[in-house]
C-alpha cells in the first residue's frame, strides 16, 4: 500500500475557493470599469485618451505589488497576492477616483488601501473596514480637491469639468435638467471612473447574485432604503430646483438611485464578505443601515455623496450585528416542556 493521506473529515469539499470567488467578482466589475474608461477616455473631438485605463491598471498593479511584498515580508507567501482580492481592491479604488486624478494619488491611495486597511489588520479576512473605501477616505482627506472637485465630463475635452449629478442637487442652480435619467443609468455623466454606469454595475451585480457570491438582501435593502429616504427627507436647496420638482416620482427615484456611487457601493462594496455580516438577518440590517446613512449624508450632511462613509460606518457595526443576529442553535430550550417531569 502506498503512502496514504490521513485527512480529517469531511474528506470531500465543494468546488468553492477563495480565488474562484475573488476572480469572479473581478470579472463582474470589468463591464462597468471598461465603460467608465470609454466614457472618460473619449474626448469630444473623437480622440481617445488612455489615461483612465492607466489609472485603473496602475491602481491594480500597485495593490497587487503592495500585497505581494507585504505577504512576502510576513512570510505568508507572496504568491497569495494573486488570489484576486488585491485586484478587486485595486479596481475598486480606481473606480472611485476621477479619471483625471494625479498619478501619485492613485499610487499612494492604492498602497494605503492594501498596506494599512488590509495587511495591518492581518490580511484577508481580518480587516474591519472595506480597504478600497478606506483608501478613498484617505485620499479624500489628503487630496480633497483632486478627489472631489474637478470632475471630467464624459465625451468632452479634458479641460472641461462639470458637476456630478449629486453636486447639482446640493450646490448648483441650473434652470433645466442637466442630465437625463437615461444618461444617469448608462453612466454618461460626470463622476468617478467606475461608479457612473448603473446599468453595467447592475449587470455585474445580478451575475454575482445568480452565482450566489453576493447576498441579494444587501443591495436590495440598501438601494430601496436609500431611495425612499432620499425621496422623503426634504432638503431646502433641492426644493428650489424647479426642473427637479417637475420630475415624476419615478424619475426622481431613478435620479437618486443612479447617481453617485450608490450602485457601485450597494453591489460591490457593501457586499464585501469580510466586512459585512454573516447572517441573512444581519445582511438586511446592514443594507438598511447603509441606505439610511447614505440618504442622511446626502440630504442633511456636508457631502453631496454619502455612500463611502455610510458603508464604513456600517462596517464598524458588523461585529455587533453578527452577535445580535446569531442563529438560535438547534435544540435551544425555547419554552417549558409540555409534560411535567416525574419526581
Amino acid at each position: 500500500m502506498e503512502k496514504l493521506i490521513v485527512s480529517t473529515s469531511p474528506h470531500i469539499r465543494s468546488d468553492e475557493s477563495v480565488p474562484r470567488i475573488m476572480w469572479t467578482v473581478v470579472i463582474s466589475l470589468i463591464p462597468a470599469a471598461a465603460v467608465g474608461c470609454y466614457f472618460f477616455g473619449m474626448r469630444g473631438d473623437g480622440t481617445f485618451s488612455f489615461r483612465p485605463v492607466f489609472v485603473l491598471l496602475g491602481s491594480i498593479a500597485v495593490a497587487v505589488a503592495t500585497e505581494a511584498i507585504i505577504l512576502g515580508l510576513r512570510g505568508k507567501g507572496a504568491r497569495n497576492a494573486l488570489d484576486g482580492s488585491a485586484v478587486i481592491t485595486g479596481m475598486l479604488f480606481a473606480m472611485v477616483c476621477s479619471s483625471n486624478i494625479p498619478w501619485y494619488v492613485v499610487v499612494l491611495g492604492s498602497f494605503f488601501s492594501i498596506a494599512v486597511a488590509k495587511q495591518m489588520f492581518g490580511g484577508l479576512g481580518y480587516n474591519i473596514w472595506n480597504p478600497a473605501l478606506i483608501g478613498r477616505a484617505f485620499a479624500l482627506m489628503a487630496w480633497g480637491v483632486e478627489m472631489g472637485k474637478r470632475w471630467p465630463v464624459p465625451m468632452h475635452a479634458d479641460a472641461l469639468s462639470g458637476a456630478t449629478p449629486l453636486d447639482v442637487l446640493k450646490t448648483q442652480d441650473p434652470l433645466v435638467a442637466p442630465y437625463s435619467v437615461w444618461n444617469l443609468f448608462i453612466g454618461r455623466v460626470p463622476g468617478c471612473l467606475g461608479e457612473t454606469s448603473a446599468l453595467l454595475l447592475l449587470v455585474g451585480g445580478i451575475f454575482l447574485i445568480a452565482r450566489k457570491y453576493v447576498d441579494w438582501r444587501i443591495p436590495l435593502s440598501y438601494i430601496v432604503t436609500a431611495v425612499i429616504l432620499c425621496l422623503v427627507i426634504p432638503f431646502k436647496k433641492e426644493m428650489n430646483l424647479s426642473w427637479f420638482n417637475n420630475l415624476s416620482i419615478f424619475e426622481k427615484a431613478g435620479y437618486y438611485a443612479f447617481s453617485g456611487g450608490l450602485f457601485l457601493g450597494a453591489f460591490f462594496m457593501a457586499t464585501d464578505m469580510v466586512t459585512s455580516p454573516m447572517t441573512k438577518k444581519g445582511a438586511l440590517i446592514f443594507g438598511i443601515g447603509c441606505g439610511a446613512l447614505t440618504a442622511l449624508i446626502r440630504k442633511l450632511g456636508g457631502y453631496p455623496e454619502g455612500v463611502c462613509y455610510s458603508i464604513l460606518l456600517m462596517n464598524t457595526a458588523t461585529p455587533i450585528i453578527d452577535r445580535w443576529t446569531k442563529p438560535k442553535k438547534f435544540g435551544e430550550v425555547r419554552q417549558q416542556p409540555a409534560t411535567v417531569p416525574a419526581k
Binding site: 474528506h11 470531500i12 492581518g122 469580510v274
Partner: protein, 448 residues
C-alpha cells in the same frame, strides 16, 4: 408533507456505482481480528487466551459497565494471538486474533430459532440484544440495549427507522432494505415492542424509490400503522436529530437525547441485526458494507464478517494505482486510515478509496457565512474555527462547541478550505482533558 431541517449541503451522491449491485458474500478470511473496542463506551475485556479454541458467535470480549457491548468471534477456529493491533481510530487496541478452521460451527446457545418472538418477555428481548453485542450500525456504534432502555421518566411514543443513508457513496442500507425488507421490519417491530412505541415511522431519502416501495410492501404485511416517510435528499438528513425534526417535527434539546422528546431512532442495519439476535440468537458477527470510490476497480456491496482485514476486501474488489486516501465510513464523517491493516468493525458502513489528494493549505476565515447557512445544528462554525485556531477552549465551549455533531457541512462549503471539524474535535478533546484534570484535582483535594 416533506418536512426537513435548516441547513445541510448537497454533495455529489456517487451512489450509481453500487446502488444496483446486490449484496454479495465477501470471502471469509483465513484469519480474523476481533477488536475489543467496536462501540461507543467502555472497551471489552478479553476473555480468551492464545491457544483457546472458539466457536462462531462465542464471546471473546466481555462488556464492562452499562454502556458497553460484548464482542464475539465471527468464525470458528483457534485463538492464535491476543494483543495490540492497529485500529480505525489511530491508536492500537487489544484484539483477539482467530484462525479460521472453516468449519463454521456456531457456539452453544447461538443460532437457535425462536418460534415466536412476541412470546418473549421484554426483558428477555433486551437481554438477547445485549448478549448479541448489537450496536448502532449507522456509524456511531452506540450499544442498542442501552438505547432501548430509556429512563422510566422518558417514555418513547415514536420509533423512527433510519433508512436515509445520506452519506455519499454508501449504498449498504439501500440494498438491505431492497433485499431483506421483511427481516428489517420484523427487527423494527421487536424494537418498537421493547420500548412500547405506538407511532412507527420509516424515513427514507427519495433517491431510493425502489427501497421505499419494497419497505412499503413489507410494512403493510406486518403492521398497517407504519408510515413510510419520503424525505428530500439533503445531507445530513440521516443524522438522528435532523431525522427526528423532519419526521416528528420535534427538536431534541441541546445537551439532550432523543428520549427527551419521546423518540427512538435506529438504523436499518441495526434493526436487521436485532432481528437476527432475537429471532435466531445470532450475535453481531457480520454486516453489510459498501466498498467503493474511484480507487476501486469493482465497487460492490458486501456481507462481511466482523474482523475481516480491509486489505482483503480491497484486494477482492481490486484496488487501482494511485489511491491517495482510504476512508472507513462515508466521505463526510468517515475516518481516513494510515494503513490498510485495520479490520472491519460493527460500525464500518463503507470503505471509500479515493485517488485524489487534498490541498493542505487553508486560509483565514473570510466571514462569507456559508458555514452558518449550512450548519444543521444552526451554530456559527466560523466562530468555532477561529476560536479553535486561537486555542481558546473556554470561549469555544460557550459558543455551542458541544452541540456540534461533526457532520462536516461547514468544512464542505468553506471557500477557505478551513478544517473546521478538526478544530472542533481538537477543542472537544482539550476540554475533556481539562475537565478530567479538574476532577482529579478535586478528588485530590478531598482526600488531602
Amino acid at each position: 408533507m416533506l418536512r426537513g431541517f435548516r441547513g445541510g449541503v448537497h454533495p455529489q451522491e456517487e451512489k450509481q456505482r453500487t446502488n444496483a449491485k446486490p449484496i454479495e458474500r465477501a470471502p471469509v478470511p483465513k484469519v480474523v481480528r476481533i477488536p475489543m473496542s467496536q462501540h461507543t463506551g467502555a472497551p471489552c475485556k478479553v476473555v480468551v487466551q492464545k491457544g483457546d479454541s472458539v466457536k462462531k458467535g462465542q464471546v471473546v470480549g466481555e462488556a464492562t459497565g452499562f454502556i458497553s457491548a460484548p464482542v464475539h468471534s465471527s468464525v470458528s477456529g483457534k485463538v492464535i494471538d491476543v494483543g495490540q493491533y492497529p485500529h480505525i481510530f489511530g491508536s492500537p487496541v487489544a484484539c483477539a486474533v482467530i484462525e479460521n478452521d472453516n468449519l463454521e460451527e456456531w457456539a452453544k446457545g447461538t443460532n437457535v430459532e425462536c418460534p415466536d418472538v412476541n412470546a418473549l418477555s421484554i426483558d428477555e428481548v433486551k437481554n438477547r440484544i445485549r448478549a448479541a453485542g448489537i450496536v448502532g450500525m449507522g456509524g456511531a456504534a452506540f450499544p442498542s440495549h442501552v438505547k432501548v432502555s430509556p429512563p422510566p421518566t422518558k417514555p418513547i411514543d415514536s420509533f423512527v427507522l433510519n433508512g436515509c443513508e445520506c452519506e455519499p457513496y454508501l449504498t449498504a442500507d439501500h440494498r438491505l432494505m431492497l433485499e431483506k425488507p421483511d427481516a428489517v421490519i420484523e427487527g423494527m417491530l421487536i424494537l418498537c415492542r421493547a420500548v412500547g412505541a405506538k407511532d412507527r415511522f420509516i424515513g427514507i431519502e427519495e433517491n431510493k424509490p425502489d427501497a421505499i416501495e419494497a419497505m412499503r410492501k413489507a410494512a403493510a404485511k406486518y403492521d398497517a400503522s407504519i408510515r413510510i416517510v419520503q424525505l428530500r435528499v439533503k445531507y445530513p438528513q440521516g443524522a438522528e436529530k435532523q431525522l427526528i425534526k423532519a419526521i416528528l417535527g420535534r427538536e431534541v434539546p441541546s445537551g439532550g437525547l432523543p428520549f427527551d422528546v419521546g423518540a427512538l431512532v435506529h438504523n436499518v442495519g441495526t434493526a436487521y441485526a436485532v432481528f437476527e439476535a432475537v429471532k435466531f440468537s445470532r450475535p453481531s458477527i457480520e454486516r453489510v458494507l459498501t466498498v467503493t470510490g474511484d480507487g476501486v476497480e469493482n465497487p460492490r456491496n458486501l456481507l462481511v464478517r466482523i474482523g475481516t482485514p480491509i486489505s482483503e476486501l480491497l484486494q477482492f474488489c481490486g484496488l487501482k494505482e494511485g489511491v491517495g486516501r482510504l476512508i472507513l465510513g462515508g466521505p463526510m464523517m468517515g475516518l481516513a486510515q494510515f494503513t490498510d491493516e485495520v479490520v472491519v468493525t460493527k460500525g464500518t458502513s463503507g470503505i471509500v478509496a479515493l485517488t485524489d489528494s487534498e490541498p493542505q493549505m487553508h486560509r483565514a476565515c473570510i466571514r462569507c457565512g456559508r458555514c452558518v447557512a449550512a450548519c444543521p445544528m444552526e451554530l456559527v462554525p466560523s466562530t468555532l474555527s477561529i476560536l479553535g485556531e486561537a486555542n481558546n477552549i473556554d470561549e469555544a465551549k460557550e459558543n455551542a462547541l458541544l452541540d456540534c455533531i461533526e457532520c462536516g457541512c461547514c468544512a464542505y462549503v468553506c471557500p477557505s478550505r478551513r478544517p473546521i471539524v478538526q478544530f472542533v474535535k481538537y477543542c472537544k478533546s482539550e476540554l475533556r482533558i481539562k475537565e478530567l484534570k479538574a476532577k482529579e484535582a478535586q478528588a485530590k483535594q478531598k482526600s488531602a
